[in-house]
């Protein structure tokens, strides 16, 4: 193993890891926003909103994220959407992650006992109040762990933006594999950084999950 080489190039990997983290954070925030909207649409009393929500989930979960990214980045200019690679990465991955999070959030909401809503409505709360004050606070506790799984997948999915030349961890590893012919060393550098990011995120999610449990 060529440790000299690894020591020489690791600062570039650290910098790239910074980009991967930034990409993950922005994607997660956008994903959460899309997921919340998606879940609201899927649980709406309006059939059109339900249909749109279901179509959103079905398309984005039914086709590869890489293709979605390519449609946005390479196909976007044809329909008037000009984005640089980083923006396209965040928006493409965020909308994709949102489709998975829609199902997570919806699953948590519908698993709250029906009686909760009925009781809240009986006491005179409006539909919105019942959702906001009674159901969501309970559902939020159930969401933390599955959203953590979504987050784990999302961090690994940020590697896809290497294919549209965003200089993050996988792209950096690929470039150095190409120039040094040391695939194992470069995999090790990038792999360790990914595992640190994923491990730290996992611990943070576990902490949050403990924090929100009532008992």
């Amino acid at each position: 193993m060529d440790t000299d080489l690894m020591l020489r190039v690791y600062p570039f990997f650290l910098q790239a890891a910074g980009t991967t983290i930034l990409l993950s954070v922005l994607t997660a925030l956008l994903g959460l926003a899309c997921g919340t909207l998606g879940a609201a649409a899927r649980l709406s009393r309006f059939a059109l909103a339900r249909f749109l929500g279901a179509a959103y989930v079905s398309f984005f979960r039914g086709t590869p994220a890489l293709i979605q990214l390519f449609i946005l980045y390479f196909g976007g200019p044809q329909i008037g959407i000009q984005l640089d690679a980083f923006e396209a990465g965040v928006i493409g991955l965020g909308i994709n992650a949102g489709a998975y999070m829609t199902e997570t959030i919806r699953g948590a909401i519908i698993s709250i006992d029906k009686g909760q809503r009925e009781a809240a409505r009986t006491l005179g709360l409006s539909r919105w109040q019942a959702m906001y004050k009674i159901i969501l606070p309970q559902a939020a506790r159930l969401m933390v762990r599955p959203l953590g799984v979504n987050l784990n997948m999302l961090i690994k999915a940020t590697a896809l933006v290497a294919a549209i030349s965003v200089v993050e961890l996988t792209y950096t590893a690929q470039r150095y594999i190409g120039s040094t012919y040391k695939p194992f060393e470069m995999f090790l550098l990038a792999g360790i950084l990914y595992m640190i990011i994923i491990y730290a995120t996992g611990r943070a999610v576990a902490w949050l999950d403990r924090k929100v449990q009532i008992v």
Partner: protein, 218 residues
């Protein structure tokens, strides 16, 4: 520049051929990940510590890093150690191993949840430990995890798009070839997405049928 879907018919044969390669790579990698997953699960649970511990490390690394990075390692790494595999084979190995690790996690849990009495009874009637595992415990465990394994296979189909990056002429790369000739990215990526979506629907249909059969045979 606008959209013009009339360019598609001229290149539909390239894209359809790519579609066949996507199906081929998905089926090959799915088989590898299924049997690999069973094999890995048995190693993770029953192998002696000297094999089991390095194996756990391997599992941990494969679950903690992106598939795309693993594909680069396998494709370029094999070349470095002098094994010059065609991209298709490298792609099948990469996808297959990646999902074998995920399947193995499912199968391990399932093996542990098979009633202990099954192993004891099998041993009592004279089967060796290996036979008892192979003929009694593992088949029951695998049957229990067919639905979640089906979900992994559908994820595998979508991730098969990644092998375009190491140069396998599957659906994604075929679309890129057509785009190279026509400069019409939007049209051809949408077309590719539509094909993936249809294959995906077919897999979901098969999955539902298999699940129903399993439910009936219980």
């Amino acid at each position: 520049m606008g959209l013009d879907f009339s360019v598609i018919p001229g290149y539909i044969d390239i894209v359809l051929l790519g579609c066949l390669w996507t199906i081929a790579i998905t089926v090959a990698a799915a088989l590898l990940s299924f049997f690999g997953g069973i094999f890995f699960a048995v190693i993770a649970l029953y192998a002696p510590a000297i094999i089991r511990l390095p194996f756990r490390l391997f599992e941990w690394v494969f679950m903690g890093t992106p598939l795309l990075l693993q594909l680069f390692l396998i494709y370029f790494g094999l070349v470095q150690i002098g094994v010059d595999l065609p991209a298709f084979v490298a792609g099948v190995i990469g996808l297959g191993l990646h999902f074998a690790v995920y399947n193995s996690e499912l199968i391990q849990t399932a093996i542990l949840s098979v009633d202990k009495g099954q192993m004891e009874a099998a041993r009592t009637v004279g089967l060796s430990r290996g036979q008892a595992l192979r003929k009694v415990v593992v088949p029951q465990a695998v049957r229990a995890v067919i639905p979640p394994i089906g979900n992994n296979m559908i994820a595998l189909l979508k991730d098969s798009a990644l092998v375009s990056v190491i140069g396998v002429s599957e659906l994604t790369l075929s679309a890129q070839r057509a785009i190279g000739a026509t400069y019409r990215p939007f049209e051809f990526y949408i077309l590719a997405a539509a094909f993936y979506y249809v294959i995906n629907l077919c897999m979901e249909w098969v999955q539902r049928r298999i699940e129903r059969r399993i439910a009936l045979s219980r």
